[in-house]
């Protein structure tokens, strides 16, 4: 109703309630770190994924017995199939000469490289994103027709392990986040119930003077909101410092892993929303706890 009036319930003075902001602060700290970890791992996995996007390699084995004319014909047929496949931009053939160049540091004799009969590699650049599984399947089948033994490599199988690991790390982080939230809810319920007991006679008096349950619940709700918001912001601040310190340490460590460990702007947004989520959950929990308690009187 009016702005600056004293609380009718002296909430926040008793010892058991005073530690609520601390508790919420610590929990927000943990929750923020888990959320940040989940977002980081997610971003990392996406980056790996994207690194492979837009490219595939086709391996074409030489014919048996060796027949260079037949090899040329097969390669032409393959290139024709590739030209006819929608969504491909460019195909670069890495033939024996190209291979010899690559292997030059190890094998300096080009004829030897030709004798080793490495499969011909065709590096294909896609037009935009990745090909759907159906198009890939289709492509493989048509290549198999014109050149048996041809293999289309999306390199994705190399990623199955790391991505699965990333997914489980993400899952664990989300579970930790939810558990911390649940613990916060329990803490608020406990603190609110203790507070209800402590203030029983004041609440009874307010009732006798005509206060509605909601009027009383709102006082607990607002106290909880303030306490949780205060604690959660402090927790977020601490977590932000920790994350920044970790990224800094990794940057100065200067290895290939550095770049993915910077939390992007899009990740900071949900992380900063976390204190608000905690405050909202705490306020709602307090309100419901009080209303349920009073309805039982």
């Amino acid at each position: 109703m009016t702005g600056n009036r004293p609380l009718q319930l002296p909430l926040g003075r008793e010892r058991s309630v005073k530690f609520l902001p601390w508790l919420i602060g610590f929990m927000t700290f943990l929750a923020t770190l888990s959320l940040a970890a989940a977002l980081l791992v997610n971003a990392l996995a996406e980056r790996w994924d994207q690194g492979l996007d837009g490219r595939l390699t086709i391996q074409v084995p030489h014919v048996e017995p060796p027949d260079s004319v037949e090899d040329e014909l097969r390669l032409d047929a393959i290139l024709k199939v590739l030209t006819d496949t929608p969504g491909l931009r460019e195909a670069e053939v890495l033939d024996d000469r190209g291979m010899a160049n690559i292997l030059a540091p190890w094998i300096d004799d080009p004829t030897l490289v030709a004798e080793l009969r490495f499969p011909v590699l065709i590096a294909v650049t896609l037009d935009g994103g990745e090909l759907s599984d159906r198009v890939l399947q289709d492509l493989s089948e048509r290549l198999e027709e014109v050149a048996p033994g041809t293999y289309v490599d999306t390199h994705r199988r190399w990623l199955v392990g790391p991505i699965r690991l990333a997914d489980s790390i993400e899952l664990v982080a989300v579970v930790v986040l939810l558990m911390v939230m649940a613990a916060a809810v329990l803490a608020v319920i406990f603190v609110t119930q203790t507070s209800l007991t402590i203030h029983r006679s004041v609440i009874e008096l307010l009732h006798l003077m005509g206060a509605r349950d909601l009027y009383i619940a709102v006082q607990f709700q607002n106290y909880s909101l303030r306490a949780a918001l205060f604690g959660a912001l402090a927790g977020l601040f601490g977590a932000g410092l920790t994350i920044t310190a970790i990224s800094y340490a990794l940057v100065t460590a200067d290895d290939g892993f550095v770049q993915p460990f910077q939390l992007g702007l899009s990740a900071w947004l949900p992380v900063s929303a976390l204190p608000l989520a905690f405050a909202a959950v705490a306020a709602l929990t307090a309100r419901i706890t009080v209303l349920r308690h009073l309805a039982r009187l």
Binding site: T2, S201, L208, M209, G210, A211, A295
Partner: protein, 233 residues
């Protein structure tokens, strides 16, 4: 306004402290409830202001059986009842001003109207200098007057006062009773519990007697203005 039908009360597993009480307070009436300590005055009043549920019988307020009200209806009805508790029940963390302002705040009164009303009433009960004082720093009599001011600030339709003059001297007791009288003239139904026969003698209002949880209508005689039927003085 108030009607009790066959109200009995026992506290948990204790003995019955009120026995089949019938009582009626007409709108605009003024009654005393006279009885020695431990007779059940406070218990009876608690049944009327809905702090205790009778174990037997019915309590009707403003024409409605309180048993049938939901919680919000109860809250609204309680706002029409002013109560002076025997033990004051001031909120220790609020100063005298805020304690008195409480009923107005609960019914959403605007701050400006509230300020002047509270200040004026506090002057009336002689506590103009104590607006900022906390209950713990006030004497028993001062606390009692804050409690009375809080009970009447909302101009209740019904005023229930449990020994409202127990902690003040004779002169102040009279002054407070004049306040109740004034309220009554403006339409408030007043019901005052006291063990002080002298006080009842001074005001020509009807009174009930309660003894060991049994209620009877008091009778004034020429010889003894507050004699009771059977129980005697």
């Amino acid at each position: 306004m108030v009607r009790l039908e066959g109200v009995s009360l026992r506290y948990r597993e204790g003995p019955e402290v009120l026995h089949g009480i019938d009582l009626e307070l007409e709108p605009g009436s003024f009654h005393f409830l006279l009885g020695p300590s431990g007779a059940g005055k406070s218990s009876l009043m608690r049944c009327i202001y809905m702090a205790n549920k009778p174990t037997k019988g019915r309590v009707m307020l403003f024409g409605r059986d309180v048993q049938t009200l939901d919680r919000d209806e109860q809250a609204l009805m309680r706002r029409r009842i002013g109560v002076v508790f025997q033990d004051f029940r001031l909120l220790p963390h609020l100063n005298a001003f805020e304690n008195v302002a409480l009923p107005l705040r609960l019914s959403g009164e605007s701050s400006r109207a509230l300020d002047s009303k509270v200040a004026e009433l506090m002057r009336w009960v002689g506590l103009a200098d104590c607006l900022e004082s906390y209950p713990a720093t006030l004497s028993g009599g001062q606390q009692q007057r804050v409690a009375i001011a809080r009970a009447v600030i909302g101009r209740p339709s019904l005023l229930i006062a449990d020994e409202p003059t127990g902690n003040v001297d004779e002169r102040l007791a009279m002054r407070l009773l004049f306040l109740f009288q004034e309220l009554n003239r403006n339409g408030t139904t007043v019901f005052i519990a006291t063990h002080n026969q002298a006080l009842v003698q001074r005001f020509p209002y009807p009174f009930y007697r309660i003894d060991d949880g049994v209620l009877s209508l008091g009778r004034r005689t020429a010889a003894n203005p507050v004699a009771a039927g059977a129980a005697g003085g």
